[in-house]
Symmetry: C2
Subunit: 492 residues, 2 copies
């Protein structure tokens, strides 16, 4: 015995000894009332200092795994659950897949991460629209954390509030006011990213006793489609034009069955996946229509900060002025750090009051560490500095990607006014799933566009190119390869 | 103009100037194509350096709020949403409370935080069972963060995995194995605390098309009752005995309508609110029963680490051996830092696969910063050190609280073998809501016990005393005051 003890680096040795002995006890290799080797013997057996063994033995006694007889040594305690070993049985086999309800089943079925192609090493991947981590200013993040811990570390580590970390809420309210939002009568809930905010809002607005009905742009963010489906909404998609949603078709749809729609989900800026920014005129028209039909709008503030050119455009919630019909969901995940799970819902105060209780029932509150790092980072003025750097870098890639598409994919119609991706529409005969298969063999992958469309069979000739994490060299080479495969398909 | 500019501390001045001017533009105080004062003039007006003004003006131009005419100066840009100002309307008033569905309504109704009494300053409060933040070892937490950031800061700040941070999962799998759990065929999902784990499991096991049926100890954790109700479960409570759930009544209930129960929710160690630890014999009996009736058990690992005396007791998931019927939900929130929102679900691999997709649909993933701090903190061996200190401190308070109750509340039956609270059962004539009213006037508050019971009207003579955040002096004084009020009521 004690031959198989192996030390690992970077972990206190006493803890490793303690856990090693604990495992022997639990496995039954050391039996109840058996005497452990003396600390001196054990020190020789495991080749660690005697003081370390003494600390480990104390820990074992503290945890109730051993007891000490004064002057005699340490003995293995009788484990209270010993009598239970016999229950251990493989008879209790529940068929979990069979027990899963519709919601759990759909969650797997609609989980793109479980269906995505795994990129082989060396593959050029245009599938990600996550930020490039090489741009992260780690020093500023560390400083934000240390600053905040010094000010109120004890507060950060104890329970926070479901609504969110107060200094961050105050900061973001002002931030939204600076975008032209009339914040009177409104309030804010901090969530663990956009997705939690969206899911909570849907769960509150889903009608009882019947399926919900939602309007949205078509195509749209696939995670949003997933969440609306999971919450039982029937989705009506309105086609996109170059300057945003087709307002005439929207109006026609509303006239047809206005009373049916429980909500609309819209992404006016850098719409995912098309990258289109809705024009100011359309923003006004959309707000007027939704007001006329009294349909709540969930506005996705996605990437609003990644504007490379053109003048400032106010979000729909600003356009709505004192109206309370827009629920704005924001997040810095795409533009800043996705690892920090922080988003916010800005909406009418009465609604936020309900959402706050749902948030509490689901996750108590969002990580206070994440919230406080973000707050201090913003307060320190790091955000402006970072966005400036990120914009320069992404703009360069955006322009390169665009130029490469124009050169190597002249068959494609491009869209995308900013953000971290471009959206391509190829001739109708090109099936982008088939194209993807061909490209994968050539070592380049992208996201087929059909998954962003509401109905099956739509957008089969579209694809999304995320360029944020691809090098300039690979952008050029990857798009050239895609172009070659497109022409192969067009020839056939 | 520019008279109302006020500097705040601790924020870069250029950012403050930029935001100040931005607000003037958004409010319309500065109009489109109006010339801004020169940087020299503005420097005089705002009393900040000219370089700062130059930086601020650059920021405004970057964000599209101004444009520069070479050699002439900076001008206010035409805001694209200007044309929308007229939409601003109070006509779009949605009655949000009326739009809320049953789920959202119940979430508010069952939200104890919205009904709790607000303690006045100076009140002795026994309502909290959160840890005492004065015990937190902030230096170790900071070190854990800095260690981890140095190793893989860029990875921590970008997207993580829905399942969780791999090093933490590996660590916790081993941690659970060290508690005697057979981990073969099992897997783990990291969640944002116990509550998210519990809510996700419930949402997967809630039957489609009918109300679910759940078994639990009575009384039990009120948040668990809330979540089961919100997910539409009918709850059957089984009374508690001194050594845990009444197994005979449990068996009788199962025999009566076994096929009805979709799951059982149990807290075998330091049960909330009674503080009772289920005996080893009962653990075996419960596992055998659940196995016989093939009922999934959700085990709440609440405070398992806060054992003050007695020998080690293995969790139910260890007792079940190779059986796959127990879903263990753990968290260090109560014993370590509630502000770090990290919990874990350990269960059959097939089940975890479904839960992972639900987790992804709800919150993408748990904060990687929180997970990595926790991981590094554990790896550095800080947990053992901290638990030792916390146990000593809480044990002292536990014994003091117990002694004070015996001295000043001889009418009460006590329960609680550890943890951060004691549970008191008073003579049936004492209504603890009425007692609370009387005590509040005397400056001491506690949690009335009825909220932990399944049916209305049960446990009206019980209360929970959380002592973790009360000073020794206030424990003594507070319990004395409660005793006096009890005797007033008994006299009447």
């Amino acid at each position: 015995m004690f031959q198989d003890f192996k030390l690992v680096d970077d972990r206190p040795v006493a803890i490793q000894v303690k856990e090693y002995v604990k495992r022997l006890i639990i496995k039954g290799a050391l039996q109840a009332d058996q005497k452990l080797p003396s600390t001196r013997e054990m020190s020789g057996l495991l080749k660690v200092s005697r003081n370390t063994i003494i600390a480990a033995y104390e820990g074992l006694e503290d945890d109730g795994y051993t007891y000490a007889l004064p002057g005699k040594g340490s003995y293995v305690a009788q484990l209270a659950a010993d009598s239970g070993q016999s229950v251990a049985s493989s008879a209790w086999q529940i068929d979990w897949k069979a027990r899963m309800n519709e919601y759990a089943g759909s969650a797997v079925e609609l989980d793109m991460m479980k269906q995505g192609i795994r990129a082989q090493k060396g593959t050029i991947s245009f599938t990600s629209i996550a930020p490039d981590e090489h741009l992260f200013d780690l020093g500023d993040v560390k400083r934000a954390f240390m600053d905040r811990m010094a000010i109120e570390g004890q507060v950060l580590l104890n329970y926070g509030y479901a609504k969110g970390y107060k200094p961050l809420i105050d900061y973001l309210m002002r931030y939204m006011e600076n975008k032209g939002v009339d914040i009177s009568g409104k309030d804010m809930l901090i969530t663990s990213g956009f997705t939690e905010g969206f899911d909570i809002v849907l769960s509150a607005l889903r009608p009882s006793g019947r399926r919900g009905a939602a309007l949205c742009e078509n195509p749209t963010h696939h995670t949003a489609i997933k969440n609306m489906k999971l919450q039982g909404f029937e989705i009506t998609g309105i086609p996109m034009e170059r300057d945003g949603i087709d307002v005439e078709l929207l109006e026609a749809e509303l006239e047809k069955k206005a009373h049916h729609f429980d909500l609309a989900y819209l992404t006016p800026s850098y719409h995912n996946p098309t990258g289109i920014v809705m024009s100011a005129a359309k923003r006004n028209a959309v707000v007027r229509l939704m007001m006329r039909y009294q349909i709540p709008v969930i506005e996705d503030g996605f990437n609003e900060e990644l504007r490379y050119s053109g003048s400032h455009i106010a979000p729909l919630i600003a356009t709505a002025g004192q109206g309370n019909g827009v629920i704005y969901i924001g997040s810095f995940s795409k533009v800043l750090f996705p690892g920090l799970r922080v988003g916010w819902v800005l909406a009418d105060r009465a609604l936020i009051d309900n959402l706050e209780s749902i948030k509490r029932a689901r996750t108590i509150h969002t990580s206070t560490i994440d919230q406080s790092i973000l707050y201090q980072y913003l307060l320190n003025g790091n955000f402006d500095k970072y966005v400036k750097k990120a914009r320069t870098e992404y703009k360069r890639k955006y322009e390169l990607t665009k130029a490469c598409c124009e050169a190597h994919l002249p068959e494609a119609q491009l869209s995308g006014d900013g953000g971290l991706h471009l959206f391509l529409t190829l001739p109708p005969t090109v099936d982008t799933r088939q194209l993807l298969d061909a490209c994968t063999k050539q070592g380049v992958i992208f996201t087929p566009g059909d998954r962003f469309f509401i109905q099956e069979g739509e957008g089969t000739n579209t694809l999304r190119l995320g360029f944020s994490r691809v090098t300039a060299e690979n952008i050029e080479r990857g798009i050239q390869l895609i172009g070659e495969q497109v022409r192969q398909i067009l020839k056939a």
